[in-house]
Every structure is written in structure tokens, then in C-alpha cells.
Assembly symmetry: D2
Homo-oligomer: 364 residues x 4
């Protein structure tokens, strides 16, 4: 696809990913999942929407559950450094020829002057500075749960052409921390940050625009295990899609679960500092079977194939464009269904070929 040009006007100064506006089809079912099971804290709610924040958050919310006819993402909202950065965002996307909409009183309750855009990749991006403050609960240990979600960590977006999206986001001020490539020069995914963690958003190669997941972080690894244990106790184990495990990329301990609409949520903890300008970028070989799970546990196919649609500024579903580059799932799961290791990562001294008998592979 055509390269996205860099605007002549300055990009807005983005602080961090701050909130997602998520459309759900059954508000009560979603509330049961995000509040009763996951323990997110309600800042405010009505019959149409529920505004949730994580334990350490002080802005109005990190997640809006908004009642709607079809499960989708209405906006990926980023907080910018100053009110003027909202103007910069508007001008920036207007020069890109993108449709933009400005609302002095915001699109989301608790947020003020904001601009929403249909970005060059087809995603609904939102930029805001003004927000009401909510009580930061970080020392309310009388309210903390065993699996407490303490921060919003990142978004993950599915897009067909990762290098194209990466160039656009780098122009916007994001910095790449890690990516996955092959020796043919195909890029399968890229992680990009503003706040000094491994990412504020990531691009996953696939049919898009779609939302792959939203991620919240916990203090420690046992908090993530407790979320699994609780889902088991509630006989909701089918909501555990993948993990827990240790990521190769990002080095974080992770879990992927799905909400009542199938929106994917990652629980994530302990990546590393990336805020130095010369932070070393780590490129992973798509054939390294520890890239997505450091322990070599295979990625379930649904994780590659399923994602949530996104909405345009009129609230209509954005059409999905197919990825033409090779698919990570196809190149990593061979006829025997086994993710093989990079040449040189020879475990043969231990089990050789027999080792490949493990895990999903010989299921087939």
C-alpha cells in the first residue's frame, strides 16, 4: 500500500495510552466480567455506559463499556501533554487528509476537549488532555483484590501492513522497542512506546483494522495466576484463551482472556525500561519458537485469527483489509503443528527430534 507521508506540522506530544472506548452488546454481562471478576473500579455508570479505572489510576477512567448493537472498538484514546497538543493532533491528521471530529466537551464522560480521527490505518484514535481526576486507590489496600489490575499498560492493533503502520506511528512520535521479522524481510509485528515501557501500542500483522487486545498490568506474577484460579472457580475457564506464560517479546509475564463479547484482554506484568533514546531495539526471528512464549508453549490459532472490529466516526464498522504478507501462524505452525526453533537453538543434546513430540504438535 501507499506510504503514509509525514505531515509538515508537529505531532502532538503523546504521554501514554489512556483509555479505550469499547462497545459491548450486554452491559450487565460485561459489568459482571470487568467489575465482579476482574475487579476494575467503577468511577461512574449509567444505563448506557460504565466508566472503569485501574487501582493506581487518577484520571477519570481507562475503559468505557458502552452499550451497542455490535461488539467493537469506538476509540483508542491517548492522553497528550497539554491542551495545545489536542490542536496539534487535529491539525496533524487534517494534513494527513484524515476525517477528524473535535468536541470541546469530549467524547467520553470525564474527559474534556478532545479530537477523534479516522487514522490512515483505519483506526479510531482519540487525543485528549482535559480529564476529571478520580480518587487514586493505590494505597486503598482495603479494596485491593488478589488479582488486582493496577494500570492500563497498552493497546494492540491488527493491521495488514506492519511496516506501513510502523512508519506512520514513528512519525507520530512512537518509538519501536521490539519487532518480529523473517529473513525475507517480512515484518510480522512491532511494539512501540511513549511512556518508557515496552509499548503503548503494538501492531500485529493480520486482516485489519481490528483491535487485538487491551492490556492491564498487575503488581506481581501471582496476581495473574489468581485471575486464572478465579476463572476456574467460577467455571469460566473457557475465557482463558492463552497463557499464562512469559513473553519472549517484551519479557512480560502474561495471560490472555476474552470478555463476554470475545474482546481480548491481556493481563501483563514486569516488562522493562525503554525510555532512553538509544534503547536497544530487539528483533526476533519469526521462527524462534520462544519469541511469543519464552517457554516455547505454542500460540493457539484463535490468538492469531480472532480480533475485534473497529468503528468509524459515524459508528459504522470499518471494513477489514486482508493481509497480503505471509501469515505468522502459517509460517510458524508447520504440517506437524509445531513451532520450531531457530537454527542454532539446538536442543538436540537433550531430546533432539523427539522433543518436537511435545505440546500441540503431535496432537495432529
Amino acid at each position: 500500500m501507499n506510504e503514509i507521508p509525514k505531515p509538515s506540522v508537529p505531532a502532538p506530544d503523546i504521554i501514554r495510552c489512556a483509555a479505550m472506548d469499547l462497545v459491548v452488546t450486554d452491559l450487565a454481562a460485561s459489568r459482571a466480567f470487568y467489575v465482579d471478576v476482574l475487579g476494575l473500579h467503577v468511577t461512574e455508570e449509567d444505563d448506557e455506559a460504565i466508566y472503569l479505572r485501574s487501582f493506581e489510576e487518577f484520571i477519570h477512567h481507562n475503559l468505557v463499556l458502552r452499550k451497542g448493537p455490535v461488539a467493537a472498538v469506538a476509540a483508542f484514546a491517548y492522553r497528550v501533554r497539554t491542551p495545545e497538543d489536542v490542536d496539534r493532533a487535529e491539525a496533524y491528521y487534517q494534513e494527513l487528509g484524515c476525517r477528524t471530529e473535535r468536541r470541546a466537551d469530549g467524547f467520553q464522560k470525564g474527559f474534556g476537549d478532545s479530537v477523534r480521527v479516522e487514522d490512515p490505518l483505519g483506526f479510531p484514535y482519540e487525543f485528549f488532555y482535559a480529564t476529571e481526576h478520580a480518587e487514586r486507590l493505590h494505597q486503598r489496600y482495603d479494596l485491593i483484590s488478589a488479582g488486582e489490575l493496577v494500570r492500563l499498560d497498552h493497546f494492540n492493533q491488527v493491521t495488514p501492513d506492519v511496516p506501513r503502520g510502523r512508519k506512520y506511528l514513528e512519525d507520530l512520535g512512537f518509538r519501536v522497542t521490539e519487532d518480529i521479522q523473517d529473513d525475507q524481510g517480512v515484518t510480522y509485528a512491532a511494539w512501540m512506546q511513549r511512556k518508557g515501557t515496552v509499548h503503548d501500542t503494538a501492531l500485529t500483522g493480520g486482516n485489519g483494522p481490528r483491535m487485538h487486545h487491551i492490556a492491564f498490568s498487575t503488581h506481581e506474577k501471582h496476581n495473574i495466576i489468581q485471575i486464572c484460579d478465579k476463572l476456574g472457580a467460577l467455571r469460566m475457564s473457557d475465557h482463558i484463551e492463552r497463557g499464562p506464560g512469559r513473553h519472549g517479546v517484551s519479557n512480560a509475564f502474561y495471560l490472555y482472556i476474552t470478555d463476554p463479547d470475545g474482546h481480548r484482554v491481556e493481563i501483563y506484568t514486569q516488562d522493562y525500561w525503554t525510555g532512553d533514546p538509544d534503547n536497544p531495539v530487539i528483533t526476533w526471528d519469526v521462527h524462534d519458537n520462544q519469541r511469543r512464549d519464552w517457554w516455547g508453549n505454542p500460540v493457539v490459532p484463535s490468538w492469531y485469527t480472532e480480533a475485534s472490529p473497529v468503528l468509524d466516526l459515524d459508528g459504522n464498522l470499518v471494513e477489514v483489509v486482508e493481509r497480503t504478507d505471509s501469515s505468522e501462524m502459517e509460517v510458524t505452525i508447520g504440517a506437524d503443528g509445531f513451532s520450531y526453533t531457530r537454527p542454532g537453538d539446538d536442543d538436540g543434546t537433550y531430546r533432539g527430534e523427539a522433543s518436537k513430540g511435545f505440546k500441540i504438535g503431535n496432537q495432529l
Copy 2:
């Protein structure tokens, strides 16, 4: 098969599972795995054998790595309460018509007067009281590793006829804590204890006699995660067979790894107290997909099919008898490869059938 009669003489008073005599084909490779990777502590070693103990152990060892031509188990050793209990064990198995061998100076370095038997299930069992004491390292925090193994927790044995084996072990003084059955009355596995944990040994239905695994415990869950992380760092992730996860049965947090010979080792933590005489026995439905993994993660086929052979008192491999009862693997992994939940555990309110698309299932 014929029922095993209960001897008229008293059974020995077994304290706990205490040590395994394990034959390995490459002593250096096994030492690298158990000492360098897992961090077990060497009490004593020579060119023929290495004697290892866990962090909190005070008896001479919990594991012997013995050089031999074929990877197998030479003995499952239990500690008895008094020297006289060794006599009782000898008499008990003689009345059972089992071959026994008594050695005043023991079969394993550091252990004294012991008896070894070829038990009715074909397993080499050993009973001893006398042992040299080694330094208990429980406060040597200068030696503890991030993934420290602190105790030997249990053995797990594969046998074709679980009820037959269970009756024999109950006569011997073991008490069942949990088991897996189906509504046809087939028993797939049983867990049995002496020391007040969920088990000192378990019987897993399958072709046997074979050793399914030996299990060591850690203090906390993060220690088990570290073992995975370390295997990843050493590019030995193929040694991770299954997990980590939370067991339904036993409720412990677990991991299964394989040593250089393919002997399976479980790392295990946090089951519960079972030492009361009326401890409630928990029976799991084989069709409950949370029985083996509380989070519903599927059991990899190798976990069901692979196990280590055992040796008779002459050091020859014991012939394996096929299981005739139905196989847990076959009854739980259907055409779609998905372990389905017990009727009534329907999560359909959340994802219905679609949920079955997760995990191994839709691989096929």
C-alpha cells in the same frame, strides 16, 4: 486381574516417600540438568552415582542419579518409622509372595538396613529407616536459588488397573485423597498419602508398571515460573512438557519437565492438609476439563503416553502390561480434540459453543 490379598501380618509404618533411585544414561548430562539447572544439592558423588537432596532435606538424599545402560527407575524408596518396620515390610511382602531382598548396609549410599521388593504391581519398592543426616540447608539463604526445590513431594506410578493398585496400597497404609472416575465406574487415577499432603504416591491408569514422574516442591509459585524462565534462557524450552498451571486434583500449582533421558519431573507447590482420618475424598469426573488443569488448559498427549520403565531386583526391565480399561486421553479428547466440561459446567452464557474454539481443539 486378580485382587491382591491383604497380608495377615502388620504393614510397615511408612512416614513418607523419601528417595528415588534413578538410572540415567549420561551422568554428566543428568548432573547438568538436576544440579546446574534445577539446583538440587549434591550430598555425595562418584563416577557411578550422584546423591542429591532438596533444600530443606536432612536425610542423606532424595534422588540418586545412577549411571546405567537404560533409563529406568531402580527403586521407589519410602522411609519407615522404626528399624523394626523394615522387618515388617520384609515379612509383609513375603506373605504377598513377592520377591524381596534385604541388605543390612542398604542399597543406596547413606541409607542403612533396607529391604527391596518386587511389589504386586511390578514396581521396585524400597523401605528403610537408617540414614546418615546431611546438613539441612533450610536457612542457608546464601545458597538458595530463584527456583529452589525445597522438598521431595511425591511419586507417580503408571499401572493398568487402578482399583487393584489402590486396594493394595490402602492395605499398605496409604489413604486416598482424590481420584478420577467416570459414570461407568472406571477409575482413571488415584492419589494416596502418608505424610498429610495430597499424596506420597499416585496411580495413573495406563500401560505399566512405569514411573510417570517424581515431584519436588517449591516455596512459592514464582519459583516455578523461574524454572521455566531459566529453561527458556538456556534454550531448553523443549524440556517443558506441560504447564505451568493449577491442578484441579490436588489444587497444587504445577509444572512438568523432562530430564535428558526423558524422565518426567514435576515441580509442585501449595496443595492442602489431608492428615485427618476423615479427610474428605474428592472424586473428579473424567469429563470435567478442569480436573487436570483448573484453567481448562488441555493435557498434552505425551503426558498421557510417555513414562519411564522400571527395573526388577536383577536390574532387568520389567515387562509392561497394557491397560484394558478405557484411556483417559481417549475419553477426554474428542474428535475436535477438545476436553469438554461436565454437563452443568456450561459457560454458554459467556461464549457458548464458540468457546470450544479455544485451545487445542480447533487446531484440528
Copy 3:
């Protein structure tokens, strides 16, 4: 004092410490503490008493909060192996010349046939086998709190003459795991077990009979930290008396808090297996400043001086007898208030005398 003779009749077979019958002066305040703050689970309650159990317990309760005029302990209850062991306990104490009372329907709701005695040390001991079973919550991860108490671990009793009490409890079948002595042969404390942990009860030298504390265990260390954090959030930090820390004796990670009546509760995790007959007994030098806190943090005086009175079988306070042996507090806190190390544990190469400037010492 006179030695306590060993009865000719067999001692009851005690399984474990099982429950404490605790008199509190304000039932609502105590409920707020044990249920709302500590999260113990209510099996049953009425206007007079609340019956609480820990997360993994299956017997009716581990703690009774009973409304009364004065804060005290009405009974230390032990579970025995068989109904006949209740008869044995009755006969055993009758031969000791102790007052006993037998109740076919029990002294505590949920428990059946029991005997209560005024033991030779003046403590109200109770022995029972029969109990109603409550739901074991060990897999109810939907109910677990961040600081969950999972088991009753032990009692701790204050008595003037530790060797005298130790001999009596050893006759009763307890086995000593650790003790604190000095080179004059004075014993300051002893830890004794039945269930294979470091203790089911301990004797602390001091004016007695009094109850020093009751201890519940958690799964991991962070659970104990959470209890402190929660007390801080509730502005109840004055309820934290000592710790958290690592014990020298027992090696457990610990915390001491006090309930609304000043009854002391220990939160405890990760001691070690002691169930072998030849388990090595560890004797600590009273002058080793790491014996009570492995990190050398000083013991606050209140921990040595404060304890709860106990009741006789008529519900009257038992008179306290003064300790005549030297006091651990006096011998370990010198003129400078500093707990000094055992000769040879000199860290002088690092900070020498200056090190004594740390901690409580130079407060004075």
C-alpha cells in the same frame, strides 16, 4: 516446681491443634477484626458466638469468638484420631489428678463428644474427634482475599517453667523441634509438634498460664505483607505489634497483630517438615540476636510481657504464677537495649561497635 509424672495409661493420639475457644468483650468489634479485616470465614454465628474457619479447613471451625465479660481463652482444642482417643484423654488426665469434664454433645457448636481438662500447667485443654464438616473452600478462588488465612497453624502458651511443661507435653506425645536455651541450662522456650510442622503448640517462658498467641498460615509471604498494608489503609497500624519478619526459630515468615481485646494473632508461613522420628532438634542460644528474628530486628517488649489470661472449667480466670527463671527479655536487652549476637557472630569486620547503633538500642 514438682515434676509432672507420666501416667500409666496411654496418651490420646493427637492429630493437630484444631480450634481455640476465645472469649471477647465486644462481639461486633471482634467480628470486624477477624471477618472484615482478616477474612476468616463464618461457618455459623449467633448473638453469643461466631464460628470461624480458615480457607482450607473442612472441620466446623478453627476459632470461636465467644461473648464474655473478660477477654480470655476458654479452651485450646486438639483433634484426636478416633472417638476412643477422647476416652483416653479423659483417663489420662484423671490419672494426672486433673479436673476433667466430658460432654457427649461437645463444648463447641459443630464438635461432638469432647473432654475438657484443667491441665497440670493450668491451661484449659480440650480433646475431640467428632465434628461436622464445613465446605472446604480451598478452590473457591472467587472468595480468596489478597491476605487470605489458609490454615490454623499453632498455639503458643506462656508458662513459668518450660522444662516442666515440655516434659508433660512430650509424655502427651508432642515432639520438640526447636528450643532456646542459655549456657546456664536455662530453657526460655520450646516448640513441639504433632502434625509434622515446627509446632502445634509452643511454650514461652513467662508468667503463666497465659495464651501468648494463636497462629494462622498463609500460602505466600506477600499475603502477610498485604495484611499489614490493609491495616495501614484502615488506619489500624497500631494493631501491628511486631514484624513482619523471618523467624530464626521455625524459619517461618511471620507477623504479630493484636485483636480488639489485645489477644495476639500470628500470621505465619513456610516453616519446614518435621515429621521424621529423628528430625534434628535445633537449640538456639538465647544470646543469638537472630533467634527470634533472623534479620536481627529486636523483639518489642510488649511481645514478651503481654499475653491473654485463661479460664478454668467454671469460666473463672486462672491465677498466674510468676516465672522464677531468668527472663529472655532481661537477658537479651542489655543496658543499651540492644540484642547482642552470640560470641563468634561478630560482624565487626563490617561495622563493629557502630553496628550496635542500629535499631532499638541507641534509642535509649
Copy 4:
């Protein structure tokens, strides 16, 4: 003292606190402490200096142990965003009338073009951009220890006039996150950040300029407990000065230890995100006894009184100026030695005055 004027030239863009140049009197003893006990990783060393980095660091080092005649701090080094920011730093301090020294090849091995200054508070500050990269060990789980230090978190400086220092650091671009004041308007301490954590440095009111401590972070709380356990095992418990505990200010879990020269090191984990421009500043009342320890555990006097001297650019000790404002130690430890709570934090419903009997207080 006179207010420090804001220069007309722009301040350098500081990324984060990056390294401390620490003078020690016995290099071998310091190496044993920082490498063998704490497990910091040696990037490079010779007879004069040892260059150490934390587990997740990629710049050359975070700490230099430099052999010298007197234990002191030679420099607090900050990393700036660009090479030009080193020029800005030089010009900034020159306008402040401070002595500066520029070295194209750096003051510390592994760092390039740097400027060192004697700042208005008397501290030796260093600014650099250029650095050699070292292997980032963040996935070297084969090297991680149970008490691993993963990042340099912050510095802490003692200065007599906190508001004066605060104004100077705010001009330099630091943002205050928390502080401690009293109702007389006295400021006792202030925490200031650049990298989005609670601080990159803090000002503690007292005789200065002196270095109060340098802090490294761990992944989880149990890692800090392990450091205490290891010091206990090595019979080095006198090196534990204060903690572990939970800070009120910063909300981090903490421990303070002292190195062979008495330099104080904090081990720290889990504070919160502060990178938003309107991050709420938390002001603590000096009379809130949970401000320094959330659990109300008292601060040992040495923590208030002891600190390390600093050196000027000639390597001579900088003269210490006495604090004239009231002392936090004096105002918080009354005649009874007890840190009392803020009016309104009434725990009286639980223990009232009696509660004050706990902890250090009634030692006296």
C-alpha cells in the same frame, strides 16, 4: 538561605538518574557486598574501580565503586536526552555561578563527553549522554538471583533547606510527586521525578550536603525479603538498618541496608506512575506515623542522623551545613519515643491509648 535564581538559558533534558560514583575504602570488602551479597553485575573492573550494573540495565553501569581514602560520593550522574544537553547543562550551571568541569572522554569509564558541577546545594552532579552499551541481562534467567536488583531507581540527598533545594530542582526540570510538611509550613522532605516514577532523587531535610541513600529496585516483594534472609544466613544482619516495610510516601515496599563503609542502600519495589503533567502531589503531615512506614513501624534514629559525605571536584570533602528548620526526628519521636498519628486517624475504637504501648515507645 538565599533563593537560587532560575537561569535564563534552558535546562538540560534529564532522562533519569543513571549512575553514582561512590568512593569506598576497601574495594574487596565492597565488592563482596555489592557483587557477592547483592548480586550486581560487573561490567568491568580493575584495581582502582569496579563498574556495576543492575539486571535490566543496558548502559555501561549504574554504580562505580572507586577506591579512595574516605567513604564519600564523588558524583550523582544523570543521563540527558542528547549530546547537546551536556552543553546545556554546562551553560546552565555556569550561569548559576557554579564551578563546572567538562571532560570529552568522561569522568567514568564507559561514559563519554560529560560535565561535572558543584551544584548550588553543594552536591557533585554529573550530566552525560554518551555511553557504551553493555549486555542487557533482562532475559538471562540463568543468571538471576533470588534477590535480584533489576534497576537503579533513585538517589536521596540530605540538605538543610528543603524548599530552597526543591525550587532549584524544579527549575532544573524535576517535578515534585510527594512531600512531608507540618502545619507550621516547614517542609521536611520532597520527592522529585523525571522518568515517571515517584522519584529520580529526593531531598531529605538535615545537615548537608550528604548522600542519604542510593536505591535499586527488584521485581517483586519476595526478592527484598530474600536479601534480608541472605544477610541473616551470612550473619550480616547488622547491615539491615531499617525495614523491610511499606512506605507511606511513594507506596513502595522497601528495605534499607548499609554497605561496609556505612553507605546506605535502599532496595525498593512497586511505586506508581507519575508521568502525567497533572499528577496529583501528595503532601503528608509530619505527624502522620504512617508517612515513612505505612504500618506505623518507627524509623530508627540512625536513619535520620547518618549519611555519607560528598566530594567537590577536587575530591575534597564538602563542608556540611547544619539544618536550622525543625528536625523530623525530634518532632516525631516524643518523650515517650512514640510516633503519634495525625488527629483524626483515631484508632481508639480498637485500642486507644494502650496501643501506644507498642513498638519503640515503651522501650523507654
